[in-house]
Structure formats: structure tokens, C-alpha cells
């Protein structure tokens, strides 16, 4: 699996950041290319919660199902796609002075058919790195006044 990651400092509490990123319905607000989330299995957050996604990945629409696999309130949130493109997303929140350090790490497999069609692996890896950077910057922009 390939991996991309980025970190940002957000001027609010870890509790607020964690609550924001760990609600799957909020993900289309800050994940570039994520069209929608639907069929969230339960309102209660935690391991085992599932939902469906539709993602526009550089022109290719990918849909599938996702499951939360780690949930430690205010610090660690991880989910993994169960169908569609294979990926694992990990959010970590940590206090940093009066602020929060948010880290997002994505492990993913590139769909080979797309790889052959549109770009080299290194180009797609760069595009994904840009997207993860954009996602954490978006979270910061939405949570700060």
C-alpha cells in the first residue's frame, strides 16, 4: 500500500476537532472529490459503524462501503474501505498548547486500471498527497473563525 499524510495545527480543542472529523456525514465538507456519504449505520460513533461513499477520484467515480475500525474519543479515529478502492484513513488529534495537532494518514492501493489509463504511479501519488494536504487545510478553515 502507498501512504500519504499531512499535519496541521488548529486553533481549537482536540474534542472539537475530533467530533468534527469523526462524523462521516461531515466528510464531504472537507475531503476534495468526496461527493456524498449515505446509509450511515448508526448515529452512535464507534468501531463497527459503517457507511457508503461516492468519491470522484480525478474523474473516476468510485463508490463503496466503509467501516470504522478504531475509535478512541478525542484522539484516534480510523476507518477502512470494505469495497470500492482499498484505503485506510487514520486521524490523530493531540493537544498542542491551547491548540490541536491534527494528523491525517491515508494508506491506499491505486486501482491498476486507472493507473494504466491516466497517469504514472508517482504522478497519482503526488496528486493524492496534494489532496490530503488540502483536506487538513479545509478542516482548519472550517473550524477556525
Amino acid at each position: 500500500m502507498a501512504k500519504v499524510s499531512d499535519t496541521v495545527i488548529i486553533n481549537t480543542t482536540p474534542q472539537k476537532v475530533f467530533a468534527f472529523v469523526s462524523d462521516p456525514k461531515r466528510a464531504p465538507l472537507f475531503v476534495p472529490g468526496l461527493n456524498r456519504i449515505s446509509n450511515v449505520s448508526t448515529e452512535k460513533p464507534g468501531v463497527g459503524r459503517t457507511w457508503e461513499f461516492e468519491f470522484n477520484w480525478f474523474g473516476l467515480t468510485i463508490s463503496g462501503k466503509t467501516e470504522c475500525i478504531q475509535y478512541t474519543p478525542d484522539s484516534l479515529y480510523q476507518f477502512q474501505t470494505r469495497s470500492g478502492a482499498s484505503s485506510k484513513w487514520t486521524y490523530r488529534c493531540a493537544p498542542s498548547d491551547a491548540q490541536t495537532q491534527l494528523a491525517l494518514e491515508i494508506d491506499y492501493e491505486l486501482p491498476e486500471n486507472l493507473l494504466a489509463r491516466i497517469a504514472t504511479r508517482s504522478a497519482l501519488d503526488r496528486m493524492n498527497q496534494n489532496r490530503v494536504r488540502e483536506a487538513v487545510a479545509n478542516i482548519k478553515a472550517l473550524l477556525e473563525p
Partner: protein, 98 residues
């Protein structure tokens, strides 16, 4: 999954302003759809007829419903340029998929 056909005007008439034309069969409940999105972002709002007024004078979202189409206007003020873009994109996604 449902997707609505929608068109965006080429350029905003004013900074922060957007106008969209959306085709539909049954008229969507725009007030509910936009309120849900704004709540997810954490922006309080107040409904006045076919308009949502955003907290702290941050602008408004309004809509006109016709027989087979609606016009939605988004006029945001006071946010950073990035936040304005994110709010607009979130509202646009709700128009397409909400």
C-alpha cells in the same frame, strides 16, 4: 442513489455570490436540505420564507421553486475566502446529492 441536474452561472455577479439552476420532478425541501448542511459546518441560521439568513451577517441562501426547476442564490459575506469556497461547495453538493 439520486443526482439532480444542476447548472452553475459562469461567474459570480458579486464576490461570494452564486446562482444555480436545478432541474427536478418533485420540488425539493430546500430549507431542510440547506439547514442540514449549514448545521454540519456549524453555521447557525434563521429561516425567513424561502431564505436562510446566516448568523453574524454572513449572508444568505435563498431559493425560488418553479414547476420543474428551482433557482438557488448563495450570497456569503465575512468568511475567509477559503471558508467561503468550502461553504459554497458544500451547498452545491447538497443541491446535487441532498
Amino acid at each position: 442513489m439520486r443526482v439532480r441536474l444542476a447548472w452553475r452561472s459562469g461567474r459570480p455577479a458579486v464576490r461570494g455570490g452564486r446562482k444555480w439552476l436545478i432541474g427536478h420532478v418533485a420540488p425539493p425541501d430546500w430549507g431542510r436540505i440547506f439547514t442540514e448542511v449549514l448545521q454540519l459546518i456549524g453555521i447557525d441560521n434563521q429561516r425567513q420564507g424561502n431564505e436562510l439568513l446566516l448568523q453574524n451577517g454572513h449572508g444568505a441562501v435563498s431559493w425560488q421553486v418553479k414547476y420543474r426547476w428551482s433557482i438557488v442564490e448563495v450570497d456569503l459575506k465575512g468568511f475567509t475566502a477559503q471558508k467561503q469556497q468550502l461553504v459554497t461547495t458544500a451547498l452545491w453538493k447538497s443541491v446535487r446529492y441532498g
